[in-house]
């Protein structure tokens, strides 16, 4: 049941009606209906792993309480380690087992030890990377005494399984979400309508932009050996936009749906392509994952390596980004993707510009030439790196890049003149302009301050664009993670 499907509307509308009518008396009633809905939603996506989700909830709830109630620090640490082993173990078994197993056998073969392997046919539980990171963060926060453990199983269960974010995030933090769950939600017209707006923009990004890009990208990547360098470059351009529109569209829908229930999820994208350096880009791209990695991996690691000064910082960044890449999947392509992004930070670390974050052309209509140049240069770097994200193997990615930088790079691709590409570019221009205009706002389609005629004109334009150019696919790129 994906957000842009009729079955989801049929699911959502009754839940909303029940939630804001019969169950609005107190937070427990509200949480009961949300939890039941969330479990149904997850079971609909993949009922076979509902038991796994419930098991994860139960064990992490129990461990959270045990960590806090143990008086000795040693015992607390043991319970934390138990939690880490359980959660990371789940991830390793379901997501990385075959990867490590294959690697291990290949190493044995290098040392002339004859070993054969048959990979296990392990199904990946949907959303496991997202809810496991949430439980890991929760246990570490409890151990570090940053939050109190939840002593309400209903609230804790909802924190983990809350349906708008269970499949693909945002990866929520206990200190932000649990307090909202504990309180009774009161209906707010402004929040509700803002949620609807965000859903509309998410639908547009996914159904129009991401799908249009996919239509152009797939034939190019699937048959890249037979295309000119210029077309491959265009393919990588559209893929970078597709990846962003697909995931940011999903995130906008998730956050918007949650607002309909009066619960604010964290922002996951903040117009990342309007960044002038890689550090700024990562502050705006998949924010819930990067802040998680920052808090639980980078900060402790850089603290440990502080005596190595800038070298220690570089090592911490690279290690963190390799992990960010690896989080996406058990493939060397993702590790390379993370490694490259980590390496891009080195000039910033040594020039001392890593912490400079700003909204590009703040308060201005257009950026300066320098800002524009920096944004474009960064975008080219990112789109070339995204090739690793899309390719099946590292070799394939290198071949693709090598094919771009060939003599055929200067050949005009005739495909550009086709109506499909022209429509694609026009739609993209519209998408980018709207995002640029709202880059200083809370989300990409925050137009509550416009007058009613302009607002409604926007709604009708977006609706018509979805109707005329929208496609409904059965999945999102980030569902596989």
């Amino acid at each position: 049941m994906i957000f842009n499907s009729l079955s989801f509307v049929v699911f959502l509308v009754p839940v909303l009606l029940i939630y804001w009518s019969f169950f609005r008396k107190n937070s427990s009633y509200q949480n009961i209906i949300l939890l039941i809905s969330s479990l149904i939603f997850y079971a609909y996506a993949d009922y076979r792993f509902l038991i796994l989700l419930i098991l994860s909830i139960g064990i992490n709830y129990f461990l959270g309480l045990k960590i806090r109630r143990s008086e000795k620090e040693l015992i607390q640490r043991r319970f934390l380690y138990l939690g880490l082993i359980f959660n990371i173990g789940l991830l390793i078994y379901f997501k990385y087992f075959n990867f490590f197993y294959e690697g291990f056998v290949k190493i044995l073969n290098i040392f002339s030890i004859d070993a054969n392997y048959n990979t296990l046919n392990i199904l990946l539980p949907i959303g496991i990377s997202f809810f496991t990171f949430q439980t890991l963060g929760y246990l570490i926060d409890v151990y570090n005494e940053e939050i109190n453990p939840s002593n309400n199983l209903l609230e804790f269960s909802l924190f983990i399984s809350y349906f708008p974010k269970i499949l693909s995030g945002p990866i929520e933090r206990a200190k932000s979400l649990i307090p909202q769950i504990e309180k009774k939600r009161i209906f707010s017209y402004e929040v509700f309508t803002d949620g609807l707006r965000q859903i509309l923009w998410g639908l547009f990004a996914k159904m129009v932009i991401a799908e249009k890009c996919a239509e152009i990208v797939n034939p190019i990547f699937d048959n890249y050996e037979n295309h000119s360098g210029s077309l491959l470059l265009i393919g990588s351009f559209f893929y970078a936009i597709q990846l962003y529109a697909d995931f940011s569209g999903y995130s906008n829908m998730a956050i918007g749906i949650s607002k309909l229930f009066g619960i604010q999820l964290m922002r996951n994208f903040a117009t990342p392509f309007f960044s002038t350096n890689i550090s700024d880009y990562w502050r705006k791209w998949h924010i819930s994952l990067t802040t998680w990695m920052m808090d639980y991996v980078f900060t402790p690691l850089s603290f440990t390596l502080r005596s190595y000064q800038k070298r220690g910082l570089v090592i911490s960044i690279i290690a963190t980004f390799i992990l960010v890449g690896f989080w996406h999947g058990a493939n060397w392509t993702f590790i390379f993707y993370g490694l490259l992004h980590g390496l891009y930070f080195i000039p910033l670390v040594y020039s001392g510009k890593m912490n400079k974050s700003q909204i590009v052309a703040k308060g201005k209509l257009i950026p300066s030439f320098k800002e524009l140049f920096k944004m474009l240069a960064l975008f080219v770097l990112i789109m070339l790196t995204d090739i690793f994200f899309r390719a099946n193997t590292v070799t394939e990615a290198f071949n693709y890049i090598a094919s771009i930088f060939s003599y055929s790079l200067f050949k005009f691709p005739n495909e550009l003149l086709s109506s499909s590409y022209l429509i694609g570019f026009v739609l993209l221009a519209f998408f980018i302009l709207v995002e640029w205009k709202h880059r200083e706002r809370h989300h990409d389609f925050e137009i509550s301050n416009y007058n009613i005629i302009i607002r409604w004109s926007w709604y009708i334009i977006i609706f018509l664009l979805i109707l005329f150019f929208g496609k409904s696919s059965e999945t999102f790129i980030y569902f596989q993670f």
Binding site: L6, Y189, T193, Y459, I460, L467, F468, S472
Partner: protein, 302 residues
């Protein structure tokens, strides 16, 4: 209350826009939608995409007017994916058929592909490849506008087609394909695409005795409502050995079935020089009227 009113207003605007498009451009935005917006019919053309583009109801109406048939004719053909012969298609035909029809005319356009079944499906166990597709996923086949079709088949709609007229499904069910090949090369490219599709088909599909028996049931059922005629439409000769391979002795099987049921079988498979196709498999709109006239002449002779 304010929110509720705004949601109702927004929904009203959205539904109005969609309804306008369906009413005004229904034949352009989807290749089958119009078939489910017209009243029930007494006479029908039944078949796959060859009949969909090849047999024109307006020509039949003109040629056979006053000959004792309950006209007008409706083209209730679909694509090969939707319309293999079987109980699902028969049920849909009966839904679209006026129940009190006595003098109907039913032209069944048959191609060997319509008697194939996917290898993994057990037809005798009610497993059919066409199960989830229109018209089998619909209860209402004669309402205008038809929101059921829109909801169940949303992914087949191309709303941007309001701006172009490549494919237009007429209200009588005939699909007017304006996308004609400009050169011999273009024609061959399209034909090669179909040959490739046939070869892929051959790997996954095989002749189904169940579908042949269903054809017999369909003929017998329709004879209760009027006259039945069977036709095989022209195709590029390059397809004939492929079709023979997929469904051996097809003509003999249909011949014997038509003899048993005392209905006529008109075999036009070798007439593609006279009636030209746009891609090897589908009659060009420039020849479909001439072909339909010839078919009507054959019907009148019998």
């Amino acid at each position: 209350m304010k929110l509720l009113l705004k949601i109702i207003l927004a929904s009203f605007i959205g539904i109005s826009i969609i309804t306008f498009i369906l009413l005004k451009f229904g034949g352009q935005v989807d290749s089958f939608y119009n078939k489910f917006t017209t009243p029930k019919a007494s006479s029908m053309i039944i078949g796959d995409s060859r009949a969909l583009t090849g047999i024109r109801p307006n020509v039949v109406n003109k040629k056979l007017a006053g000959k004792g048939f309950d006209l007008p004719m409706l083209n209730y053909s679909f694509t090969i994916a939707q319309a293999p012969i079987g109980p699902l298609y028969r049920e849909s035909i009966l839904k679209k058929l006026k129940p009190n029809t006595k003098n109907g005319l039913f032209i069944i356009s048959l191609s060997p592909l319509m008697l194939l079944s996917e290898n993994s499906h057990d037809n005798y166990n009610n497993e059919f490849v066409e199960d989830d597709l229109s018209p089998h996923n619909m209860d209402f086949v004669d309402i205008n506008p038809n929101y059921e079709y829109l909801i169940d088949n949303y992914n087949s709609f191309h709303f941007k087609a309001v701006f172009r007229e490549n494919l237009i499904l007429q209200k009588n069910g005939w699909l007017q394909d304006n996308n004609l090949p400009n050169t011999r090369e273009e024609y061959e490219k399209r034909r090669d695409w179909w040959i490739n599709s046939y070869n892929n088909f051959d790997k996954r599909y095989s002749f189904s005795k169940y579908r042949l028996a269903s054809l017999d049931t369909l003929i017998k059922t329709l004879k209760g409502y009027g006259k039945v005629h069977i036709a095989r439409l022209p195709v590029d000769p390059i397809f004939l050995p492929l079709e023979e391979k997929m469904c051996p002795r097809f003509d003999k099987l249909v011949d014997s079935l038509s003899n048993i049921n005392n209905v006529k079988y008109y075999n036009y498979k070798n007439t593609s020089d006279t009636y030209k196709t746009l891609d090897g498999a589908h009659l060009s709109k420039l020849y479909s009227d001439k072909f339909t006239e010839s078919l009507c002449d054959s019907i009148l002779k019998n």
